[in-house]
């Protein structure tokens, strides 16, 4: 079983990393190497010129900061709102549970063009143009259904007996929640938070409506894409991908189950 697993991993890694490699490679290639009928796969020349141009223009770091702040707040708020809801949902009879979950999903079943404008207008009316607050509130409308579903499944997977056992051991209801249930839910909370973060990180249409001067990172990358300069686009896209890699790397250990087996005894 060892060999097939590792070759599968290698294949997956190639599938995953290939396009990222191309993006990074373009961002440090001299134009002549890419802009031909047969661009090379391996780098020959190496230049930091595109990166210098990107950073010197000073148009890319403020969007990076705004997007980081927005996505972080969206993830935090999504967990805060969705976790209690999911905890309740997991304890409901299943007919109710999926009825409510599907109801929450209704907003995600329409194409974004139809939904983004009316959602955005609410927050514009409150004077939230260009603000992080408005963007966070708008993103939450689309993030919460997903977070609620992921967390409901997470809490469902935690056997009732574990909580009952903790109660028998003399834990109060809150202690059980904090020390046992939430600890067991860490992988699920991490996944939900990550999904929320990623959604906000790359969201485009709501950001279009809710920003004028203070762009988010996807809007800024789109600016380079629209200008047509491949090298600036690749450099900006690399800059946009880096936090994703960093965050997933940092959160990796939380994605693993904490000794659930032991706790279930």
């Amino acid at each position: 079983m060892r060999a097939p697993t590792s070759s599968m991993l290698a294949l997956l890694a190639f599938w995953a990393v290939g396009p990222l490699y191309l993006m990074l490679k373009v961002s440090v290639s001299p134009p002549g190497e890419v802009m031909t009928a047969r661009p090379t796969l391996l780098p020959h020349g190496l230049t930091l010129e595109h990166w210098r141009r990107l950073l010197e223009a000073g148009q890319v770091l403020p969007p990076l900061g705004k997007s980081l702040l927005t996505a972080g707040l969206v993830a935090a708020a999504a967990l805060l709102l969705a976790a209690p809801a999911a905890y309740n949902l997991a304890r409901l009879p299943s007919r109710w549970r999926y009825g409510i979950l599907l109801g929450l999903f209704l907003v995600r079943m329409l194409p974004e063009v139809g939904i983004a404008l009316p959602v955005a207008v609410v927050f514009l009316r409150w004077g939230l143009m260009d603000s992080v607050t408005g963007l966070v509130l708008a993103h939450l409308t689309l993030v919460l259904p997903v977070a609620a579903w992921v967390l409901t499944t997470t809490f469902l997977a935690i056997p009732r007996e574990v909580e009952e056992a903790a109660a028998l051991d003399g834990c109060s209801a809150w202690q059980t929640l904090w020390r046992v249930t939430l600890r067991l839910a860490v992988p699920g909370l991490t996944v939900a938070g990550l999904l929320a973060w990623l959604f906000s990180w790359e969201e485009f249409l709501l950001a279009t409506y809710l920003t004028l001067g203070a762009k988010t990172m996807p809007l800024q990358v789109y600016y380079y894409l629209y200008q047509g300069n491949w090298f600036l686009t690749a450099a900006a896209a690399t800059l946009m991908t880096a936090p994703v890699l960093l965050l997933t790397g940092l959160l990796q250990r939380h994605l693993r189950a904490t000794s659930l087996a032991g706790a279930a005894r």
């Binding site: 802009m35 707040l73 935090a76 708020a77 004028l212």
Partner: protein
């Protein structure tokens, strides 16, 4: 875990207290939106706006807004009852939707005080349905790009007529096995713009699909289709640059914004430009570019008008001409451009001499849809122009009757 939950609470508190829009900040800040490349923004921000800010004692917040997003954002702002834009520059191919949605403030000729040095044809273009909504700022025109190396390699010259165009397309396809001439056939605005000038150059009426000149254009496109670059189907203004840069196409019409990108940034000196080819009747190129407008409910209407006058002034137009190679709206503004840019500026000026304005019809959106359908079916589904066009001509005729 406890620590993380605590910080989440603080984050949420921070979120709720985060500042809202800077609506109250300084009553004398004008907001101007345009869509420009980074190099162009530098000239606007460093050389064009500061003299105005000094003269009016105000600040100008200059913001990049893409043309397709401007309408959306103005709509959203109006729905929310919060206008934040004072003056915008918008692509003149997208004005109809602004006016139809009632997003732009009409101007009266007395307050506009059009400078006599502004070319009359350009000055007239801001009037729609008898009312003036827009002021000229930056005229523009499509030119033709070609890869001189590839043309030389096959002993070809850039085509000057439709016959030559067809021959060139056939030679490339025969010699290389794949079409190298690009037609922007993605549908919508790019396709309709290109189609428009082809129909006019065949003596046709773009709004009448039963007109012999229009029929001739579509028949020619049908004959040309097998020899076109396969990239044509997703070619619009930005992807055309990619096709030229990556040499998947050797001949393509596009706006001049590709010149600094292809030749200066990518270093592709083999790419040259010229005005383009003539159709059976004449040479014609649609005049595009940006015009200035003031949104309904703009917070500083008078100042916005002053800024518009500044942008139209001789001094500013000369800066734009010499530093960026833009064509100007004035008869009295000329600038000395950098040497590498000169042949391309000449190509733009030559194309401008054959310039035609696109008629502003109230059913433009529907027209785009019908024209796109015709192109899609005749070029890509290989349907005969004579079979496709009659029912579409009927629909167009009905539109003309209904919306007059």
């Amino acid at each position: 875990m406890r620590v993380e939950w605590g910080s989440l609470v603080w984050l949420l508190v921070g979120l709720l207290m985060a500042p809202g829009a800077p609506a109250a900040a300084g009553s004398q800040t004008l907001t101007l939106t345009m869509r420009l490349a980074e190099g162009e923004w530098r000239v606007i921000r460093q050389e064009v706006l500061p003299p105005f800010e000094q003269a009016c004692g105000c600040r100008v917040r200059a913001i990049d807004v893409p043309p397709e997003a401007l309408t959306q954002r103005l709509k959203a702002m109006r729905a929310a009852g919060r206008a934040e834009v004072d003056l915008f520059a918008q692509d003149n191919m997208r004005l109809q939707e602004l006016v139809e949605a009632g997003l732009v403030h009409p101007l009266d000729e007395a307050e506009v005080r059009m400078d006599p040095a502004v070319l009359p044809t350009l000055a007239a273009a801001g009037v729609m349905g008898g009312r003036r909504y827009f002021l000229p700022f930056r005229p523009n025109v499509q030119i033709t790009y070609y890869n001189a190396k590839k043309f030389d390699a096959h002993g070809l010259a850039p085509p000057r007529t439709w016959e030559e165009l067809l021959r060139v397309a056939k030679v490339f396809k025969d010699k290389e096995g794949v079409g190298r001439v690009l037609f922007q056939a993605v549908g919508g605005a790019p396709t309709t713009t290109q189609l428009y000038e082809w129909i006019v150059s065949a003596g046709g009426d773009p709004f009448d699909f039963a007109h012999p000149g229009t029929l001739a254009t579509f028949r020619f496109l049908h004959d040309l289709a097998p020899y076109l670059s396969p990239d044509s189907r997703r070619a619009k203004w930005d992807t055309t640059n990619d096709a030229l840069a990556q040499e998947s196409a050797y001949l393509a019409q596009n706006w001049p914004f590709g010149i600094p990108l292809l030749i200066r940034d990518y270093g592709k000196r083999e790419i040259r430009t010229y005005s383009g080819w003539a159709g059976p009747v004449r040479e014609a190129h649609v005049i595009g570019g940006d015009v200035l407008g003031i949104p309904v409910g703009a917070p500083h209407r008078d100042l916005a008008l002053r800024l518009a006058h500044h942008l139209q002034s001789r001094g500013v137009q000369e800066i734009l001409a010499s530093r960026l190679g833009w064509p100007t709206i004035r008869a009295d503004a000329a600038g000395a451009v950098e040497a590498w840019l000169r042949p391309h500026v000449a190509a733009v000026q030559e194309a401008m001499r054959h310039g035609v304005f696109r008629a502003n019809v109230p059913y433009w959106a529907e027209y785009e849809r019908i024209a796109s359908e015709a192109v899609e079916r005749i070029l890509w589904r290989n349907e005969a122009a004579d079979a496709v066009l009659p029912p579409l001509a009927e629909r167009l005729a009905a539109l003309r009757r209904d919306r007059r």
